[in-house]
Symmetry: C2
Subunit: 876 residues, 2 copies
């Protein structure tokens, strides 16, 4: 028969999956002989069973709980519900991973109208006993029975007001009794029954409430953000109470073995004398620093330091501990690896290596890659921030802090920036035409658009701070002003943005630049680079981003998009002319205008990458993205092309697509108009030749990537155009130069037929953004409208665009890897979708054997660390 309940003395730290983190560590401390109030853990499997059984606790599990309760009575020599020597317990949730949002703690469970009297006699402290009882009623009613917390506070306020006092501590025993009576009356009024007097009933309700809280909205949101599967469930810990509030030789506190903000090696924490845990949290009294305990209770302090040191040595990591002192005796209530800032994480990992406690490999595994993000962007100066006024809040679309003067158009952004001014670009929403303005801005603020809006995606790519979707703002473009919170901000006014929180501030807040190459960071990344198998490339399409990525350690460019380049200056006119051309000659004429731009762009990027590999992707997006929509743009274009405005409008209308994502784009453009591929090949090869001449020491091998291939013949057709164009140019230049032609794998059919595609492709780069769209059959632009329903119903637990869907999309990737290598064993394999910068996806890429991941510049350090962790995990 399955075992659903474990005594603390029956478990150990390795049973985290079954007992939850808290339970496993309580067991481990018990095993190590530390002073832990005894108790037992109801397992995560019992929680899963609870949901399988339509939210009921099976009778056999209830029996097992009661059997363990009987053991606990025996062990403590106390008795549940016995007024003469009552056993009181705490009930706390404890999932595998620490998880705020769930029901946390119920203390003093076991009290009832008779027990409280015995308890008062037993402790010789009636006020304490009745205070404990009213607290219990309050907690139980709130978290178990879901009664309004606020009403209880109102009752307390009422009692205090009548008595004419302000503080809870000023209430005496009779007041507490009064509160108990009023609380119980309120409970009965709301629930229609008396407050439960049977301690066993109280216990079972509490366990049920913990299980239920696993599925509450806050827990669900937290889980989704942190990738915790719904299927895990939570454990429940039932522990005999010790009382930090039983007098002046009692107390409670929390402490870390090292400073969680800086990583400094020194005990860090605080405690309160004569208090229970919730008092520390409530913040009514100011706790003392842990160091003060040395004076106040030297023996207890020494014992605690000794235990803390043992725990850190034991777990080989910084510990976050809860303790209670009851009448001068120390009890450990919890220990766990402590949460810490990114900087602290780095310092602790590096220090532990220097202290000989962990290996370099272990250190690399200790730092959460996503945490590094905080170290890569500017932050606000904390002193300046403290004085700043928040005026609004949007979505935290791209991290970092920025201050600048408000501008409303990309044009104005450029004008102000050229004058040396810092600007914040404020738009209803951004479009590709705003790229240049976005590049010069310190930060971007939009009224519309979510986390995957154009502004958000582009800003993250550039590492620029962005707050999106602040719907409270009303923009008046004509007046060059916006209104927020009733106040008008005009062009030139200073505002500040925190892209990591979504906050918008009035005025300029000083920022502190990131220093990602500081000592600890550098050492840890050095180890990471030593252990990782995969290379880390970047997605960049201009020299600025390329240089930024190099500084962050990128070993090449895995995706250089060529379409963004087309939005700058006069280029957009030429590309529009190309698109609306109705014959080859006029198309070639327009392309000829674009050639010099593309070539010099590529030269700039090659220079910035100093001979590292650069994979250039040919024109990809649906053409309608480039088309003019404004009447005056259309008139201008018609004039330049010498066609009537009506004719041009007809052409534009003819280019309309029902589903542009699945329309005339990617290599389909080069199949229809091979002259596009000719022009782009010319630009790539000519640029590479020029750079090679200037830098004979670099070994230039241009890599050309054909997008949206679904069939080998389609790739071959475009490749033939590339090869004949490239060979002619190279021959004419009289220089030896190799080049490679490969493809994106982003259409399901390409993955399914990868053995055929590999006959022509010298490399594959998995475009997992599009591959995810096609495999799931939903468009990223539209999915926002229904994905929330999917999260609510737990059909999806994470955004498949943020984390690679390993079951479906991953299957296609694995197939393509296997099939591709079968045809061409030395084929180069990488990923260039946004998943390339996501740690769990990077781990998957390592597992299936990709050669590199490519991500936006600001994700490069994250990907380097994630790749190292993946290698180490796979070895381990």
């Amino acid at each position: 028969m399955a075992k659903y309940v474990y005594k603390f003395s029956e478990g150990n730290r390795n049973m985290r999956e079954l007992l939850g983190g808290k339970g496993a560590n309580l067991a481990e401390m018990t095993l190590a002989g530390m002073p832990v109030p005894q108790g037992f853990t109801v397992t995560t499997e019992a929680c899963t069973r609870y949901y399988d059984d339509k939210r009921t606790i099976a009778p056999e599990i209830q029996e097992e709980i009661l059997a363990n309760l009987a053991w606990l009575e025996e062990h403590t020599g106390k008795k549940f519900g016995d007024p003469s020597n009552p056993l009181l317990v705490s009930v706390r949730s404890g999932a595998r991973a620490s998880m705020p949002g769930m029901m946390d703690t119920i203390l003093n469970l076991g009290l009832n109208d008779t027990v409280v009297e015995g308890f008062a006699a037993f402790t010789g402290n009636p006020r304490f006993a009745y205070d404990s009882y009213r607290r219990f009623i309050q907690m139980f009613s709130d978290v178990v029975m879901e009664l309004s917390k606020k009403r209880f506070e109102e009752i307390i306020d009422d009692v205090k007001e009548k008595k004419g006092v302000k503080q809870d501590v000023e209430l005496d025993t009779e007041d507490m009794k009064d509160l108990v009576a009023r609380f119980k009356a309120f409970y009965k009024q709301e629930k229609g029954v008396d407050f439960p007097q049977d301690p066993k009933e109280q216990l079972m309700e509490a366990v049920r409430a913990v299980f239920r809280s696993w599925d509450n909205p806050r827990a669900n949101v937290y889980r989704r953000m942190n990738e915790i599967p719904y299927s895990w469930g939570t454990a429940v810990n039932v522990q005999s109470m010790v009382f930090g509030n039983s007098g002046n030789t009692s107390g409670t506190g929390v402490a870390f073995t090292r400073n969680p903000a800086t990583g400094e090696k020194a005990l860090f924490g605080e405690y309160l004398i004569n208090a229970q845990g919730e008092d520390v949290v409530a913040g009514v009294r100011t706790p003392s620093p842990i160091s003060a305990l040395k004076e106040e209770m030297p023996a207890v302090y020494d014992e605690f330091v000794e235990i803390a040191n043992r725990l850190e040595k034991h777990y080989k990591d910084m510990q976050d501990m809860e303790f209670t002192i009851e009448n001068g005796k120390l009890y450990m209530l919890q220990t766990r690896n402590g949460k810490r800032t990114a900087a602290a994480a780095l310092k602790i990992a590096v220090d532990l290596v220097d202290e000989g406690e962990i290996t370099e490999e272990e250190a690399v595994l200790r730092v959460e890659p996503n945490q590094l993000d905080a170290l890569l962007h500017p932050t606000f100066d904390p002193d300046a921030l403290a004085k700043a006024a928040v005026i609004g809040k949007g979505l935290a679309a791209s991290p970092g802090a920025a201050a600048g003067r408000v501008v409303f158009t990309a044009e104005d952004a450029k004008v102000w920036a050229e004058k040396g001014e810092k600007v914040i670009l404020v738009r209803l929403e951004t479009s590709p035409e705003d790229i240049e303005g976005m590049q010069v801005a310190q930060g971007i603020l939009t009224v519309r658009g979510g986390m995957t809006s154009h502004a958000a995606v582009v800003a993250r790519g550039m590492g620029t701070c962005c707050v999106s979707g602040c719907g409270e703002i009303s923009v008046d473009y004509a007046d060059k002003s916006f209104t927020l919170g009733g106040k008008v901000y005009k062009e030139g006014d200073w505002i500040s943005l925190n892209g990591s929180t979504g906050e918008i501030f009035q005025g300029a807040i000083a920022t502190v630049p990131a220093n990602p190459n500081s000592g600890d960071f550098g050492r840890l990344m050095g180890w990471a680079d030593k252990f990782r198998r995969m290379r880390v490339y970047t997605n960049a399409d201009n020299p600025r981003d390329a240089a930024q990525a190099r500084a962050f350690g990128a070993q090449g460019i895995g995706l250089c998009r060529t379409e963004h380049m087309f939005f700058e200056g006069d280029r957009i006119k030429a590309i529009r002319e190309m698109i609306v051309s109705e014959d080859v000659d006029s198309r070639k004429k327009a392309l000829a205008k674009l050639l010099p731009y593309q070539q010099s762009d590529f030269e700039g990027i090659y220079e910035a990458m100093e001979g590292c590999p650069v994979v250039i992707r040919f024109l990809d997006p649906p053409l309608h993205e480039f088309l003019p929509t404004q009447e005056d743009d259309i008139v201008e274009l018609a004039g330049e092309m010498n066609v009537s405005v009506e004719r041009l409008k007809d052409i534009i209308e003819g280019l309309h697509e029902f589903n542009p994502m699945m329309g005339h784009r990617g290599c389909r453009l080069s199949v229809s108009y091979p002259e596009i591929a000719e022009m782009q090949t010319t630009a790539v090869i000519q640029a590479a030749l020029n750079v090679q001449k200037k830098h004979p020491e670099w070994h230039m091998i241009p890599e050309i990537m054909i997008p949206l291939v679904g069939e080998v013949k389609e790739l071959k057709y475009v490749k033939d155009v590339v090869v004949s164009t490239a060979d002619a140019i190279i021959a004419a230049a009289g220089i030896e130069m190799k080049y490679m032609v490969g493809t994106m794998i982003e259409i399901p059919r390409a993955a399914l037929t990868a053995d055929e595609v590999a006959r022509e492709a010298e490399f594959f780069s998995f475009g997992t953004n599009d591959l995810t769209q096609m495999t799931f059959g939903f468009s990223r632009d539209d999915a926002g409208k229904f994905l929330n329903y999917y999260y609510d119903t737990k059909i999806y637990e994470s955004d498949p665009f943020a984390h690679l869907d390993q079951t479906g999309v991953g299957k296609l990737v694995s197939m393509a890897v296997e099939l591709g290598r079968k045809t061409r064993p030395d084929i180069s394999l990488g990923i260039c979708g946004e998943h390339g910068g996501d740690p769990t996806s990077v781990e998957f890429c390592n597992k299936v054997g990709l050669d590199y991941v490519s991500c936006s510049p600001f994700r490069v350090p994250i990907a380097r660390l994630a790749a190292a962790q993946a290698s180490l995990k796979q070895k381990g």
Copy 2:
């Protein structure tokens, strides 16, 4: 070393792949000792090699051709280029499958300025010799050198005019010499060199021209229409000439062993005395029926009849033969299985079984399933058709013939139809709102839209004649008239349509109804049903189509769409109200209005299907398809819903999707709005219960199909809604009733995770339309814009929406079949995409082990036959 040339005496009928059809049959006749002018075949592999070698004939192949030529000289005792005893040859293409569009024939090759004189002396017929020479120059210049045919005709006309004669036969030897001289002069003027005098050069050029013609536009179009792979290549047959034009005991003709129009067992054909093959084609002289040869040359006739009988017995099929008589001696130039009408195909197959020549299995394999289509639709009365005037031509969008009076709106169509009038609905294009009008129309004519436009797809589904995309028409809706060819047609005017050819006729042409259940048809289909393993279902969503499909032999409904029902009458208002509802209550209110409609629709369909299985698919399309776009519709809806017009417009705008195909549709609707699934479940189950009560002898098992599933949890979520709704209704009814819940497999991810999906799905139905779109990553609505480039460049050789892509999409289907059966061995598997009615796709479905195919009613007989052939081929 590869052998690229085979003498006729070295081959046989089984070498069709290498020698082409013509070459293999010439070899077979040679083997059987029949009188065949000898020669040799250059293989299809030589053609493939020609393209591999960048359109050149490799030296070793040229040598092999010349070696065989030397053998032919020896064999015939004649010599190439020898004036005293010249060898002349014909050069003809011959692919594996008979293929019009390629270069056909060059006769008399080997003639030059000196050989012609010797040939004149040798034959004693100088006019014949020079006539042969000028014909050769003409043919060679045209087909080999691609000079303008027209110019040669002009030269002949000029000579005739000068001489004052009208017929070619009135030209004498000197005129022929004159023509030769003028032709040669024209050739030199155009090509800059003399007409080639070296017969070997002539031969090599001719072979090259045949190879080249494999890639000409007409051949490519024909191949695409007939699914002939480009990779096959064509063979070239070089045969010594015999002359049907060498006097009055010579002649040439073609004959079939049975009547290719009716299938009647009697020699059928015609011949011309003193003529070459091209004269028969040219139609200048009227040929005699083959029976006349019995009088004219009894011995030759008897020999021919004997050979014809032997050939038919040998090939066990009706033969199409070419023959030439040279000076009283019969030569066979070709035999092949003859092309025939659908009716003849049926009769011949059935007769051959009755004659004991072939088995029933062989008979079933003899009839091309697609041919049956011609027997399922009305046709024009041939006599009436002969007198009719074609006034325009569009695309042959849906087969059949129809006559009716012109109407311009669906409303008018209904009004006229209710008065008992036959109507042709003429529209710029149709939309879902026109469904009712389309249903009552005899035929549909649209100005815009291709073979996959709404009009075409819906008409084919209904079996209604449709001509689409006739751009010459200009419609004036206001005036209720259209203009075509300068003539105005008003509402009420009669026109006729031929949906099999795209022709539009003035006036009413009498039609002959189809009689698909006539004797031969019935017998053959009976055999087919005996041999097939797969069941054949139909796609139908109204009782009319259901009854039609039953009449055609459908065993159930594999896809009953529920959305079409929503366009009729007031229903569209209710569905619009449902879509724009912003809360559950108003959505439920709108759904409640739809429930009675849906339920009675389902009852009607269940009645029509008489207890056969009916798979009902829940609401699938993007909601925007239902949204009002006209101002007055919006105003009306706003009034009904009691919201402002502005508010409603905002809601409608908010429902806009960038890629509706990949948007909020399918089961995503039921995940967001479970009340839709509740309403539809109620309608299905309630209808089934009512019908079951009325017909206790039927065993009703409703099947509910959830569309667009990509993840098992999504299916489970909707299935849970269905099950709880259905179980409650069934329990309340107090009747025992089983029902099934299954899913479409139309999203790649569903196929990839079919093992998981099968945990919840009791059946899979492959929706290969959407699956093709997602797997290829292109939208059917938009692909038209670039697919032509793909055909031109031979990247695709057939439309993946017409024929299932077995390499890519097929791989997903096979995977899903395997994975689905692994989880649920008894899972029911079918296909309901349009591929379900396509014979090659049906064969694939049989191979991967599907249980049934479902197709539109008019494809049911085709699918039945195709399924039988697939079973037989798989066994064989």
